[in-house]
Symmetry: C2
Subunit: 193 residues, 2 copies
């Protein structure tokens, strides 16, 4: 990837490289993403009008991937609605830690001014899928389920942040242990509601 690098699909490569950058540094800049691909800092602006629109495409991709990973985790979790709900929480933290693109990216305030139909469709699908897991546990459709999803997301995102911020000693605390904690906490939340 030295010089004069030409891409078949730079647009998609920019999104992928953005996710890598987020995973490794937690930060995002158009210039760094371009450098990572060996293209000039001007190249991204042929595919996205500005930084926020690239970030929006990243959020859309992350929302889709996260939804897919949650669906896969839920599928192997059996039939018990609580098991499935807990598996979704664990899948969230795995994806968010691995990619650096949790809800802080997917629902970033920086994106509020960007109209992006692909992104809104992806985030809507993600939330609807999640909601279905909750109503399956027997929570009443509106009030209960909204509280429950908020609590689970808060717990999962909180663990994600504590983990990525180094609040836990990562050597003695593998990611799977965090995932297990979130699954366990999710069960308690359902039981208590």
């Amino acid at each position: 990837m030295a010089r004069g690098y030409h891409h078949g699909d730079l647009r998609a490569a920019l999104v992928r490289a953005s996710l890598e950058l987020l995973a490794e540094t937690g930060a995002f800049s158009v210039a760094q993403v371009a450098r990572r691909l060996g293209v000039s800092t001007a190249a991204p602006y042929r595919h996205f009008p500005d930084r926020e629109h690239l970030l929006s495409a990243v959020a859309a991709t992350a929302a889709g991937e996260m939804a897919a990973e949650i669906a896969a985790a839920v599928a192997t979790a059996g039939d018990d609605p609580v098991d499935r709900f807990a598996a979704a929480g664990a899948a969230y933290v795995r994806y968010a830690v691995r990619t650096g693109a949790g809800f802080t990216v997917i629902f970033s305030t920086e994106l509020s001014g960007v109209r992006d139909e692909t992104r809104t469709a992806a985030t809507r699908a993600l939330m609807e899928q999640w909601m279905d897991l909750i109503t399956a546990t027997g929570a009443r459709p509106t009030a209960d389920s909204l509280h429950l999803i908020e609590e689970q997301i808060a717990l999962a995102q909180g663990y994600t942040m504590l983990y990525t911020q180094g609040f836990f000693h990562r050597s003695s605390m593998p990611l799977e242990e965090i995932a297990g904690r979130v699954a366990m906490g999710s069960r308690r939340l359902v039981a208590g509601s």
Copy 2:
């Protein structure tokens, strides 16, 4: 605060202004803090060797203030250990939202290279105070209490982030409602452990 502004205690003022900046923007830069006080961008470097040491002083102050607010909230919560534990969670989210200086600032990875005795003492005192609340609930000293404090912090920090990121509609969701959710969630965590 126009020009030629002279300070009695610029060092303390820099810390305060940093907390204001974090509260308002969620970001931090030495230059913005200096501008906010009407001093040159060079002035802070007479009081702190670099950006990270100022940030460390901010973290130390935040840890002390948060500990004081938690102590005050716990004192008015009565004698029941679970009530007191729940009050601590609510106090955390109030402080973190209001100041922008939750655990992401107090335990920021950017500070790992800064040796600052004042900060480490403040953070140690904060955590010990918090631990005392948990052991009072009857949790076993080591394993249980560590899990419980982590879960509560994750829940509280997760709600803080969802709130500040605008995931909730702030108009229909006042801070006190978030504080109440965290208190309720804390009770469930204790009950389930």
